[in-house]
Symmetry: none
Subunit: 214 residues, 2 copies
DNA sequence: CGCAAACTAACCCTTTTGGGGTAGTTTCAG
DNA sequence: CTGAAACTACCCCAAAAGGGTTAGTTTGCG
């Protein structure tokens, strides 16, 4: 062990969870939480400013989500080890996270003691993955590239965004106002996303999407 | 204040969140966490055994969810005050929770200090609701439509049948062939069912329906 | 730098959708 | 028996959706 404690930054929009995590970490010698952020934007700034040893990053956040935050951090040259922390089930996001430079992917519902172990291991430079996750990753790697992460990945950000709005029942006009673009443009995106997904109408798209995220 | 501390039971399948909550509560005089459960089944047994003053119940749990647990507790004669705790946004579940006997509905992402206040108020016998929730409840009560009876019951058999096909993404023409009636007739049924459900398009209907049967 | 992709927007056109109406048949409760 | 409701089907019409094209701007990559 080194003489100075390892610095850890927490990014999660749930104050309670941050509190729990911080308290858990404080129990351990050699670990110190040097910053807490509740959103991606703050996290970006803090990460560059403090350059912590480890960043624990929530995947599901309001505004800029964890994956986006991760990507931007790496783009900005942040070299801290970054571990994604996420609720519940084995997401397909794990592949995206790893390819975008995450050093680990842990589930929030794991045993606290085990979580602490994993945090230690992450700081030591190892890649840490929850049990349930390793399988997902394994099967993902077994299939070299494509079929893993659903047809959603074939869509551009805008298309995915619009698909989500369609899945809320919105019309092109409403979506246009929501995104502040013309409804003609929305139609273009809808057209493209339908073609990419092999669907024939926005209704099919809505149903598909709603069933997609259970 | 009474002389013995108020007993609190935590039910949540996230150990971390339980930890954070427990730590938060321990800071407060007069409050004591007497039990923690990670699932609904355990919670049912513990609740009857310990009869705590307050049960804090996670809405989103694996297995038996919070609402089901709540209902069964009340069915079993548990008289503890029960406050639902849930992630993020203003669900419509709040109505179900309240009608099923919940004494409060709080969001996990609220400020910890405020949460503590609310817990105190709940123990004092008050109903506690997060800011965002009061609105939902208000609008829900403003429409005394049908608490449980679902708007589906207002539809005729044919309309319900067609709604289900819409929820599979089918167009009027396809539905017509499926049911062996003219597409003009399908349009009539769609028209009626949209009106009855207060929706503005088949997309909204599809989304509503898919979300309806989980 | 040059090129590809994404995003934007407009044009054209056909099909689909949804709202209004009338109207015939059947079925079922009062 | 009478009447209401459901189901059927058509009419008209305006709006929305979707498919095709062209085209300008920006962004990122080699």
């Amino acid at each position: 062990m080194s003489d100075t404690p390892a610095s850890i930054m927490l990014v999660d929009d749930h104050p309670l969870l941050r509190k729990g995590l911080k308290q858990l970490i404080s129990l351990e010698d050699g670990l110190e939480v040097v910053a807490e952020c509740s959103n991606g934007v703050d996290a970006l700034a803090k990460a560059e400013e403090l350059d912590p040893d480890l960043i624990i990053l929530d995947l599901n956040m309001q505004g800029m989500d964890g994956l986006e935050t991760l990507k931007r951090m790496r783009d900005n040259g942040v070299t801290s080890r970054i571990v994604m922390l996420t609720v519940s089930d084995a997401d397909e996001d794990v592949v995206t996270a790893i390819t975008n430079g995450a050093d680990g992917y842990l589930l929030k519902d794991m045993d606290p003691e085990l979580l602490l172990d994993q945090i230690q291991r992450a700081i030591e430079g190892k890649m840490v993955l929850s049990e349930a996750i390793t399988e997902v990753l394994a099967t993902a790697l077994r299939r070299p590239s494509a079929p893993t992460a659903s047809k959603l990945d074939g869509l551009t950000n805008r298309e995915r965004e619009i698909l989500e709005l369609i899945a809320k029942g919105m019309s092109n006009k409403v979506i246009a106002r929501e995104l502040d673009i013309s409804d003609g443009t929305v139609k273009v995106h809808v057209k493209h996303l339908l073609k990419k997904l092999g669907l024939r109408s926005r209704v099919e798209a809505a149903v598909w999407m709603v069933n997609q995220d259970q």
